[in-house]
Amino acid sequence: MGALPALPVAVPLLVAAALVGLAPVIRRQVADAVALATALAVAALCAALLVQAAGGPVVYWFGGWRPRGGIALGVAFTVDPVGAGFATLAGVLAVAALVYSWRIFEAVSPLYHALMLVFLAAIVGFCLSGDLFNMFVFYELLSVAAYALAGYHTEDPGSLRGALNFAMTNSVGAFLVLAGIALLYGRTGALNLAQLGQTLAAAPADRLVVVAFLLLMVGFFVKAAVVPFHFWLADAYALAPIPVGVLFAGVVSELGLYAVARVYWTVFSGPLAGGGGLRAVLLLGAVATALLGGVMCVLQHHLARMLAYATVSHVGLTLAGFALLAPEGLAGAVLYLVADGLVKGALFVSIGLVQHHLRDIRELELHGRGRDLPWAAALMALGALGLAGVPPFGTFRGKALMEEAATAAGHPWLTALFVAVAALTSAALLRAAGRVFLGIGVPRIDALRRRVRAAPHPHIHSTLIGPAVLLLAGALALGLAPGLPGRVEAAAERFTDRPAYAAAVLQGATGEAARTTHHAPGSLAVPAALAVLSALLGAALALAALRPRRRPAGRLTRAAGRVWAPTAAVLRDLHSGNVGDSVAWLVVGLAGFGTLLALVAR
C-alpha cells in the first residue's frame, strides 16, 4: 500500500484525539481496549514497513510535494530497515506497557491512554522521518508527552522534581538542536536530510559545519543521556510509572543515538568523513558514559534507579558501536540496541511485579520478602543475563558484532570495556535478585523489624507476567534467528551510504545499492566465552557484595575501601537531582565536546 508510511503516525494520533474528545463518556475498559488495539495496529504496520523497506528505501512525500530539480519542497518520510526496526520496537514495547497498565495501573483514563498513544506516534514519526525539522517536531512531541507522563505520580514530590529536571534539561537540548538546524538552513537553504547532505558534500568542513554538528550532537546526546548530559535521567525514569518506564528505557534514550547516527550519515558524512579524531571524541563520550553508568548502577539500592543507570551505561556501549563510524560497528550497535531495549522493558515489568505485590521497590527493604515470587525471580535473573549479553540473547550477537568491528578498526581494548560494563550492570541486578528473592546476605536491623511476608498468591495474573515473558522471548528470538546478523549488516551498509540515500530521496532511484562484499562473520567462540566471563564476573561481584565479612578484611580490601567509599559519596552528591546542576553540567559538556571537535575537525 502506497500510504503505508503515514498510517502508523496518523492512526494513533487520531485515536488519541478521539479519546480526549469523548473523555467524559469513555469507560476505563473501553479506553484500555482501544489503546491496546491501536498499539497492536501500529506495531503491525511498522513491521509491514520493515518488510517493505528491506527491498529498498521507501520514500513518501507528504502533500504530494515531490522534489523539483533536487530541491525538496515538502516533507518526506524515508523508511529504511533501521528506522522501521526501531519503530517496530517502540510498537512492541507500547503493547507490553499497555497490557501491564491494563491490570495494575490506576490510570486517569482516558487521558493517560491518549498521551501514551501520542507518545508512540511521535516515536514512530521520529524514526521514519527524512526531514531535519520534521524530526525536530516529532522529537519535541515525544518529549512533551514524556514530561507529562513522567510527572504522573503527583503525590510523589520526587517524581515531580524529576519530571521538572527532565523537562528543563531536555528542553535546553532541544533548543540546541534547533540552533543547529538554523545554522544548517542558513548555509544550505534546505531542511531535507538528503538535500542537506548533497549541498554540504560539495565543500570541505568549515567552522559552521563543525559547530552545527556539535549543536545537533549535543542536543540529541541530552536525550540519550550521554555523560555529562545524563544527570536528569535517574529521577525521571525511576519515579515515572512503570509502563512509561518500559518505553523510556526500552527505546527513548536510544533514539538520541539513532538521531545522531542518522544525521551524521546523511548530512555530515561528506565533509566530516575520515574522522579518526571524530571517532576518538565519540569513543571518549562512550567510555565515560558506560563506566559512570555502570558504577552508579552498582551504587543504587532502588531497583528502578538501578535500571535507569543500567540504561545510561548501555547507551555508552551502544555509542561505542556507533562511534566506530563504520557499517559493521553500526550493525552491531543496532542489533544490541533493539535486543537490549526488549530486555530492559522486561526488567521494568518484573520490577513492577515486585512493587505491586510487595508494596516496595527498595532492595534493602525488600530483603528476603520475595521468596514467594518465583516468576519475578526468574524474570529478573534472565533479564540480568540478557543485560550481560550472554548467548543466546540478541544482546550477545550485537555485542559480538561490535567487538569484531572494534578489533578490525584498531580498538581491541573496547572488548575489555564491554566485559567490564556488562559485569557491573548484571552484578547490580543479580545482587538485588539474590537479596530480594533468596534472602542472601545480612538484612538491615530495621528491615528485619518491618518484615512482612507477602501473602502467598495462588496465581499471578498472566497480564502481569505475560508482557515480560514476551519481551524476553523477543530478545531471545533476535539472538537465535538465522541470518539476522547478515541482514542487519546489509541494512547498516545502506544506512551509511549517503549518495545512494540522496539518489533515492531526491531522484526517486529505487535500484539496490551496490553491495560491498561481506566478510564472513568470525567464529563466535571468543565472544561467547567473553560474555560468559562477564556474567560470571557479575555473579561473583554480586556474591561478594552480599556475603557477610567473616574474616577481617585484608590490606588490599581495606585500601580499596578507602578509595571506594569517598568516591561513591562524591558521585552520589553530584547526582543531586538539582536543575541548576544538570544545566550547568550540560554547558560544561557542550564546551568540552565543542573544544575537542574544533580541534580534531580542522
Partner: protein, 254 residues
C-alpha cells in the same frame, strides 16, 4: 554542587561554549542576504500553485503541513499533560469560591472592569474568528486566532467571577472541541488518502487567490487548528484557576 561553585563552573563553561557558538555563527552568510533556494522557490510558486496569498501560511499548512500537525499535537499533549498533572489529588475537595463570599467583605469587581470586559468580549471573539478565517490571505491563521479567541474566556473571568467562567465553559464541550480540533487535522490528511492522493494533499478546489474560500484545504485546517488552540488555552486557563481558587486541602482556608 554549592551554588557558588555551580556559578563559577557555569561561567567558565559558558565562556568557552559562547566563544565556540560565535565562531560557528560567523560562518553564516551575511546578514540580510538569503542565499538558499527554498524560500525563493516557494515565494515564486506558492501563490500560483495554491492560490494562497500568505506564503507563510502556505508553507505551514500545505508544503510542510505534517510539521504543523505535529505542532498542533504538541499543544494537545501539553494541555492533556497539564490536566493530568493538575488533577485533584486524594484529600483535595472542590470548593467554589463564592461559597464563602457571604461574609467576605473583599471588594467585588469594579463596574468599570466589568463593563469594559463585557464590551470587549464581542469584538475580541469576532476578531479571533476573523484572524482564523483569513489565515491563508493575510498574516494570521489558526494558531494566532485561536489564542485571541481564548482571551475571550479570560475576559469573562476578569469581568465577572470564576463561577461565571465555569458556567460559560462546560468542561465536556471544551474537551470535545479540543479532541475534534486535533482529530480534524488528521481527518483532513486522511481525506487526501481517500481521494487517492498522499496524506495531507490539498485535494479541495483551489479557487482564486484573495478570495475567502480559496486555497483548498487550508481554510479547513485553519478552522481545526483554531478550534483546538482556543479550546486548549481555555482548558489551560481553567486548570490553573481551579488550582488556585477551587481545590482545597482539608483544613485549608482561602
Amino acid at each position: 554542587m554549592t551554588p557558588t561553585l555551580r556559578r563559577r563552573v557555569f561561567l567558565v563553561a559558558a565562556a568557552v561554549a559562547g566563544g565556540l557558538l560565535l565562531w560557528g555563527l560567523t560562518g553564516l552568510p551575511d546578514y540580510g542576504v538569503y542565499p538558499g533556494p527554498y524560500g525563493d522557490v516557494l515565494n515564486a510558486v506558492a501563490v500560483d500553485e495554491r492560490k494562497a496569498t500568505n506564503v507563510v501560511a502556505a508553507v505551514t499548512f500545505d508544503y510542510r503541513g505534517v510539521d504543523t500537525m505535529g505542532e498542533e499535537y504538541i499543544l494537545f499533549a501539553a494541555v492533556v499533560g497539564v490536566a493530568i498533572v493538575l488533577r485533584a489529588q486524594r484529600g483535595e475537595t472542590e470548593q467554589l469560591p463564592d461559597e464563602d463570599a457571604a461574609d467576605r467583605r473583599a471588594p467585588g469587581t469594579s463596574n468599570a472592569v466589568r463593563v469594559l470586559g463585557l464590551a470587549l468580549l464581542g469584538p475580541v471573539v469576532l476578531f479571533g474568528i476573523y484572524v482564523v478565517a483569513h489565515g491563508h490571505l493575510s498574516p494570521g491563521g489558526g494558531f494566532q486566532g485561536g489564542v485571541v479567541l481564548a482571551t475571550g474566556a479570560l475576559l469573562v473571568y476578569l469581568s465577572g467571577e470564576y463561577v461565571t467562567l465555569r458556567r460559560v465553559r462546560p468542561v465536556a464541550l471544551i474537551d470535545l472541541a479540543e479532541g475534534s480540533g486535533a482529530a480534524g487535522y488528521v481527518a483532513i490528511g486522511l481525506l487526501g488518502l481517500a481521494a487517492g492522493a498522499t496524506f495531507l494533499e490539498n485535494v479541495l478546489p483551489l479557487g482564486q487567490p484573495g478570495a475567502l474560500l480559496s486555497a483548498g484545504t487550508m481554510p479547513l485546517i485553519n478552522l481545526a487548528v483554531g478550534v483546538e488552540v482556543a479550546a486548549g488555552f481555555v482548558l489551560l486557563l481553567s486548570e490553573f484557576l481551579e488550582q488556585t481558587l477551587v481545590l482545597r486541602r482539608p483544613g485549608e482556608v482561602t
